[in-house]
């Protein structure tokens, strides 16, 4: 029997995801109800918020510490762990 409306796409038709870390394209920041903010002046760089963030959404370098709001789901773990991080309801 002839198959009329599908075609074969070769190896690209194999269900494999080839681009590492491509999930960063997804904006899971939209899940957030409470927005954490780091008081970077008082931050002592202990690393707690960075380690415990399940999303890996807190970034630290020599100069700065910041939250990637495109991927922070607003779970509040960092707020619980650190008195220099506060949460405000998203508007």
């Amino acid at each position: 029997m002839k198959i009329i409306n599908i075609s074969y796409d070769g190896e690209s038709g194999v269900p494999v995801i080839r681009e590492p870390a491509s999930a960063l394209k997804n904006n899971t920041g939209t899940w957030r109800v409470f927005r954490p903010t780091i008081d970077s002046d008082r931050c002592v760089r202990c690393g707690k918020c960075w380690v415990f963030c399940p999303e890996g959404a807190i970034h630290v370098d020599d100069e700065d510490i910041w939250i990637d709001y495109d991927h922070c789901k607003g779970c509040g773990i960092c707020v619980n762990e650190c008195r220099f991080i506060t949460a405000q309801r998203e508007v």
């Binding site: 269900p15 995801i17 681009e19 590492p20 870390a21 491509s22 999930a23 960063l24 394209k25 997804n26 904006n27 899971t28 899940w31 760089r45 202990c46 690393g47 707690k48 960075w50 380690v51 415990f52 963030c53 399940p54 999303e55 890996g56 959404a57 630290v60 990637d68 495109d70 991927h71 922070c72 789901k73 607003g74 779970c75 509040g76 773990i77 707020v79 619980n80 762990e81």
Partner: protein
């Protein structure tokens, strides 16, 4: 064996091999556990996953992983890891093999396959992320569920105690077994490092408090894990070449009620029920203290 030397949080490698943008729940400790494990295992790691919550990390067409990932089914991570060990050797690929599977996939449906891999002492790291239930399907009873816990299939609380999975692994005489919790990240990553360095199979049972299944605010996950350890309801220990040793002994154990009352799954318990659990936990610790916190298992 080289002793892992991470002492403070900022010693943990910066690089992430599990990034955000995936669909794990807010405050998920299982994804945190994988993120931490991959930080120390590094890029030369291949992950085998048994069906469960973490199976939904890669959802076509995107993946949050920077390392190879293979999911086949729920009950066969041990078999897949075994074959992968030989296949990578044939391909001259020198990589850590990490099996990351849930407690349902480990204690219950995947036990046979895991036992096969352990009996062969395959050089891989098996981390069971243990939320003490079949979490991904909505928190049903598993053999890892602790006594008295509500699950959607034990609506009045589980009658039986949890299976002692690390002891089952110890009976396989694999060289390294540990329990851990992401609330103690230094302890956990050092154990993962040891697991990677050991020649042969390593098993880590990782308690991952689950906000959805256990009934607590997602912000509380780390605290709940700490309470599990500080109340003595989750013991952190290692079994290295048959030698048991506690990794952390709470100086003064907190009352189990602090841990139990913080979770919806135990909300049906009366004070008397909690009292009975306290007695049980105290008895276990008394026995442990009497024996000493470090001893040969003798199996």
């Amino acid at each position: 064996m080289k002793t892992p030397d991470l002492k403070k949080l900022t010693d943990i490698p910066m690089e992430d091999y599990l990034v955000g943008g995936h669909v794990a729940c807010q405050g998920c400790s299982a994804s945190l556990g994988l993120r931490l494990a991959l930080k120390v295992l590094g890029k030369d790691t291949v992950v085998i996953n048994g069906s469960g919550c973490m199976t939904l990390l890669p959802v076509y067409p995107t993946t949050p992983l920077r390392v190879p990932w293979l999911h086949l089914a729920i009950e066969n991570s041990g078999a897949a890891g075994t074959a992968l060990y030989y296949a990578l050797r044939r391909k001259n690929i020198n990589a850590n093999i990490l099996c990351y599977a849930g407690d349902g996939a480990t204690y219950d449906i995947g036990l046979q396959s895991l036992s096969g891999a352990a009996e062969k002492n395959i050089d891989m790291i098996y981390i069971c992320y243990n939320n003490q239930s079949f979490g991904n399907t909505g928190h049903q009873r598993a053999s890892s569920t602790p006594r008295a816990s509500y699950t959607s299939t034990t609506p009045v609380g589980k009658v039986e105690a949890a299976k002692d999975m690390p002891a089952i692994m110890a009976a396989h005489k694999i060289p390294y077994i540990a329990t851990a919790c992401p609330s103690y990240p230094i302890d956990f990553v050092n154990k993962v490092t040891k697991a990677a360095e050991v020649k042969g199979m390593a098993y880590i049972d990782l308690l991952v408090p689950c906000p959805v299944g256990w009934g607590f605010d997602p912000a509380e996950g780390i605290n709940i894990g700490r309470l599990a350890v500080r109340t003595g309801m989750w013991k952190l220990y290692e079994i290295t070449d048959g030698r048991f040793s506690m990794s952390y002994i709470p100086k003064k154990r907190r009352k189990v009620s602090e841990y139990l009352r913080a979770q919806g799954r135990f909300s049906h318990l009366s004070d008397a029920d909690i009292g009975a659990i306290q007695v049980e936990v105290d008895r276990e610790w008394d026995a442990l203290e009497a024996r000493g916190y470090e001893y040969e298992l003798g199996i």
